[in-house]
């Protein structure tokens, strides 16, 4: 992470049947807390907001320690320099939109109106100040919730699946606006989601959680490209993961035996010892399929037969198997590529796994 952290979190909390033990830093930009349900994402966010009290640890926000277990320091939620938005807009029904946005803001009376207009403009809500919240659409309501969180100009914004309850089109617009606002205001945003798409679009930093622990944290591009374990890879949507053994390791390349096959893997990281067990993986969109016209088969090319084709609209997933049945492969293709290759008309394909796209990970549970 290039910039210094705006938010630093180290918390432990024991609950019946669950233990949260997480540590991560969030710099400016969007830090996505990613994981399945029950991973502890929301609980982590709630401890930062001050809605849950950790048993131990330390949380600092913009240089201020808001929780310290050892020093018994506890700053109540409303005094923390944070904005919070949940999945539901939770607007106060007895107040107008404008009153909701300015709720609890302590600034001189003359400045209130100016501040309100500023944030309403930022979120495209001009003219709705006097409306009751119930008269707004779901998307507008969530914008008001964002405005209410931003009007105090907090350095850190906490968002707990804020767009999950909205329809797809609205979700897209709001995600894009969040990107814009984050940059415009120079915010550090912690964004909880279980959606990979959302994580891909938004994350500058990525924290992968499972069972109350951080599995991996770092710059999003790095974590997506180089998950450090098969568990992380699986959570991040890697479907091609095979167990193998290193046959040869020299320079920046090694050869891994997977089933009866030998795969060349190029790596810029540490080379594993010869003879050691590894997991080899490749993202499904990195696999190349040829119509079988390649004259001289390379090291990582082999014949495979299409066993299943799943169309998702803009993309499609191809499930392929080599005749030896030792290396089941998933390939993701764009709709256009699917058409050009006339995938539906053909069962026999030549699959290529580019050596630089294959990743070695410690041998892991399948």
């Amino acid at each position: 992470m290039s910039t210094p952290p705006v938010l630093s979190v180290r918390v432990r909390k024991r609950l019946p049947g669950f233990e949260l033990d997480v540590a991560f830093d969030a710099p400016r930009g969007i830090t996505v807390l990613f994981g399945g349900s029950g991973a502890g994402k929301s609980l982590t966010l709630r401890t930062i907001a001050g809605l849950e009290r950790p048993d131990d640890g330390r949380i600092t926000v913009a240089g201020e320690t808001v929780f310290d277990g050892a020093e018994r320091r506890w700053v109540p939620p409303h005094r923390r320099p944070l904005g919070v938005v949940f999945q539901q807009p939770a607007l106060f029904p007895h107040l107008t939109v404008g009153e909701n946005v300015l709720f609890g803001v302590r600034i001189p009376k003359g400045e209130r109106e100016r501040r309100l207009q500023e944030v309403m403009t930022l979120l495209g809500l001009q003219g709705l100040e006097r409306r009751p919240p119930r008269s707004l659409s779901g998307g507008q309501q969530q914008r008001v919730a964002l405005a209410r969180a931003l009007v105090r100009r907090p350095p850190v914004l906490l968002l707990d699946e804020p767009f999950s309850a909205l329809d797809e089109a609205l979700r897209r617009t709001l995600r894009e606006e969040l990107l814009r606002i984050t940059r415009e205001l120079g915010l550090a945003v912690v964004f909880v989601t279980h959606s990979l798409r959302e994580a891909h679009l938004l994350a500058d930093s990525l924290v992968v959680l499972e069972g109350g622990r951080v599995l991996q944290a770092g710059a999003a591009a790095t974590v997506f490209r180089r998950p450090k374990s098969a568990r992380v890879a699986r959570l991040l949507g890697w479907t091609n993961l095979w167990q193998g053994r290193v046959v040869r390791a020299a320079g920046s390349e090694c050869v891994v035996a997977v089933g009866g096959r030998r795969l060349a893997v190029r790596t810029d990281g540490e080379l594993p010892a010869e003879g050691s067990a590894v997991t080899v993986g490749i993202r499904s969109e990195r696999v190349i399929v040829h119509r079988g016209e390649v004259a001289a088969p390379g090291p990582n090319q082999f014949e495979a037969r299409l066993v299943e084709l799943l169309r998702y609209g803009s993309t499609a997933t191809l499930r392929l198997r080599p005749p030896e049945n030792d290396l089941p492969i998933e390939v993701e293709l764009g709709a256009r590529a699917l058409e050009v290759l006339r995938v539906g008309e053909r069962t026999s394909w030549l699959v290529e796994l580019p050596a630089e796209d294959l990743l070695l990970m410690p041998p892991g549970p399948q």
Partner: protein, 226 residues
């Protein structure tokens, strides 16, 4: 029916008793109802049970305990009378306390229901934005407002009709502690059918007005889905 015979002081006393009893219910009941709606602590459960006790006790028993507790026979009663000059037994303020105790369960139950209707998400958002006091007065109270008004009105109506507890504490002294229900009792004892009829009709009218107001309020609570 004859209105000439009616001692209109009974209305003044009835409304004084019921009004002060309602205020007492609000002051003690709102914090307790909020605590009951919010916490799951054992102490609160015990308090809930204690607050509901008058619901299952005969009002005369409540009145008897208050007579014991507030009279000169008890330390509290002596302290109130000697140090503060506050005499509660055989006075209308004492009756207001009796009426408040009897109406308290109705108030608390209705208020708790009102508080429990507030979505927890709203309370969480509020606690991120403001401290607990402002949250209570600017979110909790306004949102529970129709229920709280209904609770107060119920307590008022119940206090207005209370006879057992108030009579034991106040002794039904004409012109001083005799309320509308007390006056009816007195008229029936004295065999004055005409007066009893008049007073009963007036009770009916008062009760109907209160019920009408309650009906409007509860309809508002139900409609208030925002």
């Amino acid at each position: 029916m004859s209105f000439a015979e009616v001692d209109w002081a009974v209305f003044r006393i009835s409304f004084q008793v019921a009004g002060v009893a309602t205020v007492l219910c609000v002051l003690a009941g709102v914090p307790l109802a909020w605590a009951i709606a919010r916490t799951r602590r054992v102490v609160v459960h015990a308090l809930t049970a204690a607050a509901l006790l008058p619901l299952v006790l005969p009002p005369t028993a409540v009145g008897y305990y208050l007579l014991q507790g507030l009279g000169r026979g008890s330390a509290v009663g002596r302290f109130l009378e000697d140090e503060l000059g506050l005499r509660l037994v055989f006075t209308w303020p004492g009756m207001a306390i009796a009426a408040a105790v009897v109406s308290f369960p109705l108030f608390v139950r209705t208020a708790v229901a009102g508080f429990e209707q507030i979505e927890p998400e709203l309370l969480e958002v509020a606690s991120v934005l403001v401290g607990p006091w402002r949250r209570f007065f600017r979110v909790v109270i306004p949102m529970a407002w129709p229920s709280l008004t209904a609770a107060a009105l119920l307590a008022f109506a119940r206090s207005l009709g209370e006879f057992g507890a108030t009579t034991i504490v106040g002794a039904n002294i004409p012109g001083r502690t005799a309320t509308l229900p007390g006056a009816i009792y007195q008229a029936v004892l004295a065999g004055d059918r005409a007066l009893a009829d008049t007073l009963a009709v007036l009770s009916l009218a008062t009760g109907s007005v209160v019920l009408l107001a309650l009906g409007v309020l509860f309809a508002q609570v139900r409609r208030r889905r925002w």
